[in-house]
């Protein structure tokens, strides 16, 4: 099987993105999450490794950008609204807009935070059902 990179003409050596991360995501868990989508069938052994690496790089970027938002606001704490802001200002992350939509603007008191946390867990149950983005008719598997 011809093993080639996607037919994108690269003028220079493709840069391997660096990451300070040493800890690995559990591959069995990654595979399970992948297969929660009924459309997804078999997954090659290497595949969760590849997905794990991609996830790691994604996380590095998301964490960094959120930290930048916090820094701009002179805060040492990265809050959910800051994460939302980082996501809203990055085009490639528009698939996350629905997830952060439930996050309301920065509340001054801790009370507001508590209420949000509670409604978040309710949202989760619904979010599992609602199909986002119409990619391939994804449905979550219910317990067999």
């Amino acid at each position: 099987m011809p093993r080639g990179k996607a037919a994108v003409p690269v003028a220079k050596e493709p840069e391997i993105m660096e990451s300070p991360v040493r800890t690995k995501f559990p591959t069995a868990r990654i595979k399970r999450i992948m297969q929660a989508d009924e459309e997804v069938g078999k997954v090659a052994q290497q595949t969760p490794i590849a997905v794990g690496k991609a996830l790691e790089l994604f996380m590095v970027q998301l964490v960094h950008r959120s930290a930048e938002v916090a820094k701009d606001k002179n805060s040492k704490r990265i809050t959910a609204p800051m994460l939302k802001q980082a996501i809203d200002s990055t085009n490639e992350w528009d698939f996350l807009r629905d997830i952060v939509a439930k996050v309301t603007e920065e509340k001054e008191g801790a009370r507001g935070g508590r209420a949000k946390a509670e409604s978040e867990s309710d949202e989760d149950a619904d979010a599992g059902e609602v199909k986002k983005k119409g990619r391939g008719g994804r449905k979550k598997k219910t317990a067999a």
């Binding site: 994108v8 391997i16 991360v21 595949t47 991609a54 996830l55 996380m59 040492k76």
Partner: protein, 141 residues
């Protein structure tokens, strides 16, 4: 696969401890910067969504190629399509490293495989040896 048999356990999330560890590798504690609990939980949701997004796209790509199994190539093509092409070189490197580790493991050999017997045969052999050992012991007692 046995890891499908978790029944009602809707553990379609990532372990908090692992995520926390990774976050502290990205933002060392010495910087004093940290996530609120709410933000960390949200981060985990984003990660899961990322996995789902990439899988879904990769699945469509594998289907177009009439393949039943999602392979690394499908993942890298999906990443390109989704605007995460920057990740591809590192992803390919990680997959290659893993493949190498697997190859070395296989080379080291497996005493079960090398015995030339099936697991059933090995088990029977073991049972026989236990019996014999028992006999010898009661013989001496």
């Amino acid at each position: 696969m046995s890891d499908h048999e978790y029944g009602g356990n809707d553990d379609l999330s990532l372990p908090k401890a692992t995520v926390q560890k990774i976050v502290s590798e990205i933002l060392p504690p010495s910087t004093g910067v940290s996530f609120t609990k709410e933000a960390r939980d949200l981060l985990i949701e984003c990660c899961v969504e990322f996995i789902t997004l990439v899988s879904s796209e990769a699945n469509e790509i594998s289907e177009k190629e009439a393949k039943k199994t999602i392979a690394c190539d499908h993942i890298t093509k999906a990443l390109d399509t989704l605007g995460f092409g920057d990740y591809v070189p590192a992803v390919l490197e990680a997959a290659a490293q893993h493949k190498e580790t697997q190859r070395v493991r296989e080379k080291r050999g497996n005493k079960f495989e090398d015995s030339g017997m099936t697991m059933e045969q090995l088990f029977e052999l073991q049972q026989k040896e236990f019996e014999e050992a028992k006999k010898k012991q009661s013989g001496e007692a």
